[in-house]
């Protein structure tokens, strides 16, 4: 009987401690979540009024006029991200393959290191580089310059995630392929890559999301424009630039548009993140019973 009582007493204090810890931990988690929630809430509150279908599909109107939209900026962002992807995906994935499959080579170690450095580079500096090269060479701000700048930003991210996804492919899979008499290059391209497909796509989507939100480099490369992109060597509008430009303007109507654009940008980011999450669940591909 005595033993039972003794246990009861200690278990009571233990449950109390447990509860306190639980509450503290949950509070910290909520605290970490707060800025995100506040930002989204703010954007929703301020931006919702500006949203409408015409917002998404029409061009901007001069101050004072009603209506208008940010369609050219959406198109501009899309084009520049597309250019960036065209540059960064082939280079990044190839680099990732090289880092992962031939790690012993000197070139590999050196490039891998430089890759990591580039990943941490201030994007503004990358913008300056693109300005000094593309903009000065072509004599104009352009979508091309913007795309190139974003591409440079994306390369290390793609390379790093590619390298990690490929490294995550178990050695047993590679050995199985080699043991079948499949040459090494085919093993990498057909077997290792397809096993790492999930991780690769995830990495690419994430780097696209990152590039889509970059503003600083675009200031120095793409400039700004109110019209649709017809020539890659002309300045182009983009969503982040619009938010910046309209956000610091003195017009309240422009502020509303900026909030609307911010909401769109947030929506794009969230949906890309969600897509990645869902995709990862559906296609893990590395489970063995």
């Amino acid at each position: 009987m005595q033993e039972y009582t003794f246990e009861k007493i200690t278990s009571r204090s233990r449950t109390l401690k447990n509860r306190i810890m639980n509450i503290l931990i949950t509070l910290s988690a909520l605290l970490a979540l707060t800025p995100l929630i506040l930002i989204i809430a703010d954007a929703v509150i301020q931006g919702m009024p500006a949203l409408s279908l015409s917002f998404l599909f029409s061009t901007p109107v001069p101050v004072g006029y009603q209506g208008g939209g940010i369609a050219p900026m959406i198109q501009g962002s899309a084009i520049m991200v597309a250019i960036a992807s065209l540059i960064s995906i082939p280079i990044g994935v190839t680099a990732g393959i090289f880092f992962s499959e031939w790690p012993e080579s000197r070139i590999s170690t050196i490039s891998s290191f430089s890759n990591d450095v580039l990943a941490e580079f201030p994007t503004m500096v990358i913008g300056v580089f693109a300005y000094a090269t593309v903009v000065l060479a072509t004599g104009t701000f352009s979508a091309l310059a913007g795309g190139i700048a974003l591409g440079i930003i994306m390369i290390p991210i793609v390379a790093r995630t590619a390298e990690e996804s490929l490294k995550a492919v178990p050695n047993s899979v590679k050995e199985a392929s080699l043991a079948l008499g499949i040459p090494r290059w085919k093993t990498v391209i057909y077997v290792v890559m397809s096993t790492a497909k999930g991780g690769l796509i995830t990495g690419i989507i994430l780097s696209i999301a990152r590039a889509a939100g970059e503003t600083a480099p675009l200031i120095l490369t793409a400039g700004f424009s109110n019209s649709f992109v017809s020539n890659l060597l002309n300045p182009a509008g983009s969503i982040p630039y619009l938010i910046y430009y309209y956000g610091i303007s003195p017009y309240s109507s422009w502020h509303a548009i900026a909030w609307g654009a911010a909401l769109i940008l947030i929506a794009i980011m969230l949906s890309l993140s969600l897509a990645v999450r869902l995709f990862a669940k559906v296609r893990t591909g590395l489970e063995v019973a």
Binding site: G181, P183, L286, A289
Partner: protein, 267 residues
């Protein structure tokens, strides 16, 4: 050109040539010597078991037979391995072609995770250029039957390979290795990750396969060696201690060390 007296002792090939000869094989990593000079004959169309305590070098030996060992960093190999009289380590021989003749099944089943059962089975054929659908289908059925897996999967060949149980996956790996029609099949402790029922199925498959293929089986389970193999080699600390007919090794081994190992008197 082969000197049979290299293998005097317990090996009497009765005038028949062996499928593979291992001559003076040394192998290891960096400064560590794992195999200290192995001479071994592998008879055709039979199961040769290589047994020994952990670390004796049996897996290294197996991986030297299909030139997989050299792919590890720091690995070194010297000596000869003759397959039908040709040294697979000679400069004129392409390692990739060696692996098409000498297939391998690994300890932990390793089907390609993103491929279906069918795709896995014919992966070796597809990735070496064979696209003919009929050929692939025929090869898949033939291999899956040989691996005793056909009846269980014939209606769900498009399902992912990972949906199979461990024992089935291992049989799938055997089918995959068989599809490219090798001459020798190396098995590295194929049953150690499986339960007794699955093990029994694999052993049954091995028994049927030895009619057409030469099988080299590495096992740490001496009883498995006793059950399935025709010839047994006992390796200890990188040296071949004894080699002979399984019946003789397990009823009356010549070497004191072998006797101690099979009767479980090893520490």
């Amino acid at each position: 050109m082969m000197k049979e007296d290299v293998f005097s002792e317990n090996v009497s090939l009765q005038g028949k040539l062996a499928k593979m000869y291992v001559v003076g094989l040394r192998a290891g990593y960096g400064k560590e010597i794992i195999l200290k000079g192995i001479d071994l004959a592998i008879r055709d169309k039979s199961i040769t078991a290589v047994m020994g305590p952990s670390g004796c070098g049996k897996t290294t030996l197996l991986r030297c037979l299909n030139r997989l060992h050299e792919l590890s960093s720091n690995a070194f190999v010297s000596g000869k391995v003759l397959l039908d009289g040709v040294d697979i380590y000679s400069k004129q021989v392409d390692p990739v072609s060696v692996r098409r003749k000498v297939g391998m099944v690994f300890q932990k089943p390793n089907p390609f995770p993103t491929m279906s059962i069918f795709e896995n089975t014919v992966a070796g054929l597809r990735l070496t250029g064979i696209k003919d659908k009929e050929k692939l289908n025929a090869a898949a059925e033939r291999s899956l039957r040989l691996a005793f897996l056909w009846d269980e999967v014939k209606d769900r060949l498009d399902r992912p390979a990972t949906s199979l149980s461990g024992g089935q996956q291992q049989r799938l790996c055997i089918a995959r290795a068989l599809a490219i029609e090798p001459e020798v099949i190396l098995m590295d402790e194929p049953c150690s990750a499986l339960d007794p029922v699955a093990t029994a199925m694999i052993e049954e498959a091995m028994f049927a396969l030895k009619r057409q293929y030469t099988i080299v089986l590495v096992t740490h389970n001496s009883q498995q060696a006793a059950r399935v193999s025709d010839y047994t080699a006992f390796l200890y600390m990188g040296e071949l201690i004894e080699y002979g007919q399984t019946k003789q090794i397990f009823e009356n081994p010549s070497n004191e060390l072998t006797e101690r190992y099979v009767t479980g008197k090893f520490g």
